[in-house]
């Protein structure tokens, strides 16, 4: 634990001194579902150790863009992607890239908590087991504990690690899913409306958690809540009808947006 906090402090110091490096970048991303085009030439940068929020009215393509970032759209037969998306300057749609490795580096938390019908312990050990991150029981124990610690769930579940994950409350389940994603030590975590199924208290906990995770991870979050975007994110990107309307520092987006559509959306005039 000590080591971790040290690293975090160091990184935080680092970060405050120099400009944030680029983590992921989308260039002219176009996505088609069959004949229907869902994204039009989206150019978006995701900066390291920052929370980037994607906002916009329903159906505008936020989830679609998010799922492009770890190639989850590959699982949809009719989906076709054009353009270039890079992770650390490397094209993730390059045929030489192994999608399994990519998803280990870019994890995902879904809108609805989806713990596997296994024990809490096995839910977290799942990823490390698959990727061979540990072999001895002690190593697994440590990964499970530290992941649960980071997700702020450890104290609540430490006595019932071997009970089914589906028996937790909705908010606990979502934090379990976050812990599960953390367990494979990704570099980027994608979250698609992670709080939409949660009550205000659970939401506050998850938001707090996101803020802490920022020190070690790069986060991209889709949200429908303007307050949430304002609270947790440093950068915000506004989508509308498959287009990226504008992006920039969250402060500026919420106080002085360039585009009228952003202004209207933020003030609740549509969407």
């Amino acid at each position: 634990m000590n080591m971790l906090t040290d690293a975090a402090v160091e990184e935080a110091l680092d970060a405050s001194q120099k400009p944030r490096p680029l983590k992921m970048r989308g260039e002219n991303v176009r996505v088609f579902y069959g004949e229907k085009q869902a994204l039009f030439d989206v150019n978006l940068d995701v900066l390291e150790n920052q929370v980037t929020a994607l906002i916009g009215p329903s159906g505008c393509g936020k989830s679609t863009f998010l799922r492009c970032l770890n190639r989850m759209n590959d699982t949809i037969d009719i989906c076709r992607i054009e353009g270039r998306i890079t992770l650390d300057e490397q094209d993730i749609y390059d045929p030489r890239i192994d999608v399994v490795e990519l998803r280990a580096r870019v994890g995902m938390v879904f809108q609805k908590p989806n713990p596997f019908p296994k024990s809490i312990y096995e839910n977290i050990a799942y990823g490390p087991r698959i990727h061979g991150l540990a072999s001895k029981k002690a190593e697994f124990d440590e990964i499970v504990e530290s992941s649960l610690q980071k997700a702020g769930l450890f104290n609540e579940v430490k006595d019932r690690l071997h009970e089914p994950g589906t028996g937790l409350s909705g908010g606990q389940q979502q934090r379990l899913c976050i812990a599960r994603a953390i367990a494979v030590s990704p570099e980027v975590i994608l979250m698609d409306e992670p709080c939409s199924a949660l009550d205000p208290i659970a939401t506050a906990k998850v938001e707090e958690l996101i803020d802490e995770l920022r020190e070690n991870y790069t986060i991209v979050i889709v949200t429908h809540s303007m307050q949430q975007a304002a609270r947790v994110s440093q950068r915000t990107a506004m989508f509308h009808l498959g287009n990226l309307v504008e992006e920039g520092p969250t402060d500026k987006m919420f106080t002085n947006p360039d585009d009228k559509r952003t202004q209207d959306y933020i003030t609740g005039r549509f969407g």
Binding site: M108, N114, G127, I130, H131, C177
Partner: protein, 490 residues
């Protein structure tokens, strides 16, 4: 009048009633200000039902009643049954009269036979010419009785027809009179539909209960002459079709060899069907593209529609000899696999079961929520890891249920084993030898021309009951598991 014609007339009355009734309802709703309770066609249907349903019930009751009545009248006219009567039993004599009466219908209205021959000798060739065979000891005195019987039946049918038509007309009239704007025709029709559906579902259940009881009685009958321990714990199956009179020889009715054969063959069948079927299901649910799936799935399900006798035939003429010859080639002498063997029957039965396993499992695997897959793939698991570690464990209870259902089919399967497994009630562990199953022995015991009350025949019911309890238990257990599993996601 023929029943067909009568039915047509009644339905016709009903249809006319429908048309008039709905027309009447329409006219009323046009002229009355208040909103009608039911739409016009409900009134029409109500008239139709009133015209048809009570009449049908009456017709059923009437034909049963008139049959019983005529029977009694005829029976009274028959001579007293005495020890030296020509015919041994009264019911046999009555049967002859009925047969005769049916035969006489053939020459009814034929001008050549305005006068029906008085003697059996004269009548017999005439009826034989028209395809009616009479029992050779039919008596002369039965001819006038048979003629009377026909006349009585005609009378009853005529009266019945008249009443039926009147009833139908009355019903239609009543229905038409009841058409009112606020009349609750819709509720009436709905109620009758409910009753109809209820009746349909009860028929199946009642029939099953009936079957069980009839088996139960015969089984109890069987256990009067054979002890429970002889049946359930006996290891020798030798029912000994004893010649009449040799009663001292009681056969041996050991269930164990049959049960062992049944379970062994089903086990071998499942050994083939489960891996292949499961893998096919996984392929279809997880890997196949929509196009492939839309072709392969129906194709596999067509296999389920092939009559099992065809599989049995396939086993008998193709698989069995092939295995025998192959084993002969390997051994270099006489083959170690018999043409009829556990292996042959199990293999072919396994092929038959593949579509059951794959189709049921496919449904269950597809029912695992997409979120589970996404969660696993999103962590960087490959497809096969996802299947092995998330989807199959999640679907496992359901799959176990499906496998139990399949196994109970394997245990109850008859035609394949009759042809492929043989009839020798061996107790062996060698899958290359012939064994036999409960179902095969049921067929065997019932297809002889033995007395129906001998234990050799009655044992079939005891076997059937055992099989029934066995498969019922498995099905109930399977359904229980499947249901429990469903609750997880809903």
């Amino acid at each position: 009048m023929a029943w067909g014609l009568l039915l047509t007339i009644i339905v016709f009355i009903g249809v006319v009633g429908y048309v008039l009734g709905s027309a009447r309802a329409k006219k009323q709703s046009a002229s009355v200000a208040e909103k009608p309770h039911s739409r016009a066609h409900y009134h029409g249907w109500w008239v139709f039902l009133l015209a048809v349903l009570p009449t049908l019930l009456f017709m059923a009751a009437w034909s049963a009643g008139s049959y019983a009545y005529v029977d009694r009248a005829i029976s009274e006219r028959m001579p007293e049954q005495t020890a030296d009567s020509a015919i041994a039993s009264r019911s046999l004599a009555l049967g002859m009269v009925r047969n005769l009466a049916t035969g006489l219908r053939r020459i009814e209205g034929d001008p050549a036979f305005a006068e029906v021959p008085k003697s059996f000798e004269a009548l017999r060739p005439v009826l034989a010419e028209r395809g009616v065979a009479l029992a050779s000891d039919t008596q002369d005195y039965m001819i006038p009785i048979a003629l009377d019987l026909n006349a009585m039946q005609d009378n009853a049918a005529l009266i019945g027809t008249v009443i039926a038509i009147l009833l139908s007309l009355g019903g239609a009239f009543l229905g038409l009179r009841s058409v009112r704007p606020r009349g609750r025709a819709r509720n009436n029709v709905e109620r009758i539909i409910t009753w109809g559906l209820l009746a349909a579902s009860t028929i199946a259940i009642l029939t099953t209960v009936g079957i069980v009881f009839s088996m139960l009685f015969e089984t109890i009958h069987f256990f009067r002459s054979v002890s429970l321990s002889n049946f359930f714990f006996g290891t020798v199956w030798d029912p000994r079709f004893a010649a009449a009179g040799a009663e001292a020889q009681e056969g041996q009715f050991g269930l164990i060899p049959l049960l062992a054969g049944t379970v062994y063959i089903a086990f071998v069948a499942m050994l083939f069907a489960v891996p292949v079927g499961l893998m096919a299901a996984i392929y279809m649910a997880e890997y196949a593209s929509k196009r492939v799936r839309s072709v392969v799935k129906p194709l596999l399900e067509v296999l389920a529609g092939i009559p099992t006798i065809v599989y049995g035939f396939f086993a008998l003429v193709t698989v069995g000899p092939f295995l025998r010859d192959m084993s002969a080639a390997i051994a270099g002498g006489p083959g170690f696999i018999q043409a009829q063997s556990v292996l042959t029957a199990g293999l072919v039965m396994g092929i038959m079961l593949i579509p059951f396993v794959s189709s049921l499992s496919d449904d269950i695997i597809t029912a695992v929520p997409r979120a589970m897959r996404d969660g696993s793939l999103g962590l960087g698991a490959t497809r096969s890891e996802t299947i092995k570690r998330v989807i199959l464990p999640a679907a496992l209870p359901g799959i176990v249920g499906a496998l139990l259902l399949t196994a109970s089919r394997a245990i109850g399967e008859t035609m394949i084993v009759v042809l492929a497994a043989g009839v020798a009630a061996n107790l062996t562990l060698n899958p290359f030898e012939a064994m036999t199953t409960i179902t095969v022995k049921i067929v065997n015991q019932l297809t002889g021309d033995l007395e129906f009350t001998s234990p050799q025949t009655l044992v079939a019911f005891a076997l059937g009951m055992t099989l029934f309890v066995l498969t019922l238990g498995m099905n109930v257990f399977a359904l229980y598991i499947v249901r429990k599993y469903r609750e997880q996601y809903e």
